[in-house]
Amino acid sequence: MFKNFVIILATLFLLMSNVNAGSDGDLVLKKNQPAEIKDCFEKINRATFAFNQALDGIIFKPVASAYRVLPSPVKTGVSNSLNNLTNVITIPNNILQGEFKKAGINSGRFIINTTIGILGFIDVAQYLGFPEYEKEDYGQSLATMGVGPGCYVVLPVLGPSTVRDASASIINFAGGDAWYNVTVNNDTRYFSDFDYYASKLTSGVDFRAKNFNAIENLEKNSIDFYASVKSLYLQDRQQKILNVNKIIETQNDGDWEEIDSQ
């Protein structure tokens, strides 16, 4: 399994060195513009979206609702632990994106939080003044290498994605996610498959709980909830790929300049 991962890593490195010559920030920005991403499978996507909404109503919403009444320190601790686990995907992707300094910082964060922070429950690194944590994944790495997003897709249970990002997540199961490797892939004495799937399910519940009111509010006030979710997901994705959180860096101001109402 480790061999597979090294092969994938080396291939991606080669891809990166070849594609980077022709790709720059503007090209990555343009390729990932939400308006440019086609919804080739809209009918299927809308059906899957409806299925996910039903599933949300039956499972995630009630569970998230109960989870919200837990004391704040418990919720923060669970959220911190889940975030800490994502470092094992973020760090290799920092390296793939050529961000070695960030890889070092995140490795330090992971070691400190896992040990002193009691399995990530306490974000000690934050108290020590580490920079804000930015998650990375294989889809983002492919995007920075110049690979376009392809069509927008809605995955059952997992929700919105793009063809590139959904395909890239396969790398997680081929050795690219150390947490998957020690729980599901390898028969270790300390962890079982249950730990992996429980962590993923808890992540979903934690996300739903954190955004409980925002999601309810958006659904209630949208004239096309599917289109709203798609737009928000693609805007968020574009910013994560570019590692920015300012709309002015991703939105063409020309759109606004044409509107003259004064």
């Binding site: 809209e42 954190k210 509010n217 949208s222 096309d224 599917y226 920015v244 101001d253 509107i259 004064q262």
Partner: protein, 196 residues
């Protein structure tokens, strides 16, 4: 000499007047959120809160500008009559959606942190919605239209980097695309939303 003096005083007073009425975008945002916050903290019914919030929105948001932006390129194909109908429908839709979203919050505390002037027409004001045990801290940026510096207007709310105007634009575009660009279908959807 006297004419020169009068001219100078006239010029000076005009200059002072011009500047004294110009409102800084960050002060405008802070005062708007303080007003909204005061309404949300009041011990009145939800529908009363919504009505008061609608008045603030009418005064501080460039509803017409946001409406045309949300329509995207389709705005170029509208005749004057359709534009008039659209603006009326959009205003009703916007006020309902905006006030309903806001009325869910009780006593929101927003602190304006900084501002960034993009050009003479736009300034982005950066603020933070203070976190509570119910929700985490949220970054909110405001796109302020400053073409008339004496009357700044809100054109967009950018929550954690996600633009509400852009989301609305893509929502409208989706409705138009699934109805072969028929503007009347969008009119109908807006009308139904406002009525329900």
């Amino acid at each position: 000499m006297k004419i020169k003096k009068i001219f100078f005083i006239f010029f000076l007073s005009f200059f002072i007047l011009e500047n004294s009425y110009s409102i800084e975008p960050d002060i405008f945002v802070q005062s708007t959120v303080n007003r909204a916050s005061a309404i949300l903290s009041k011990n009145i019914s939800k529908s009363e809160k919504i009505n008061e919030l609608k008045l603030i929105a009418k005064e501080t948001v460039d509803i017409k500008g946001v409406g045309f932006y949300s329509l995207g390129n389709a705005r170029k194909n509208l005749n004057d009559e359709q534009k008039k109908t659209y603006i009326q429908l959009f205003e009703n839709y916007f006020l309902k959606s905006f006030s309903s979203r806001l009325s869910e919050y009780t006593n929101p505390e927003i602190d304006v942190k900084s501002k960034e002037k993009l050009n003479s027409n736009y300034t982005i004001v950066n603020s933070i919605l203070i976190g509570t045990s119910e929700r985490p801290e949220v970054k909110i940026d405001w796109r302020i239209y400053t073409k008339d510096p004496n009357n700044p207007l809100i054109r967009d709310l950018i929550i954690e980097g996600l633009s509400l105007a852009r989301t609305q634009k893509e929502e409208f575009s989706s409705i138009l695309n699934s109805n072969n660009g028929d503007i009347n279908k969008l009119f109908k959807v807006l009308e139904e939303f406002s009525r329900n």
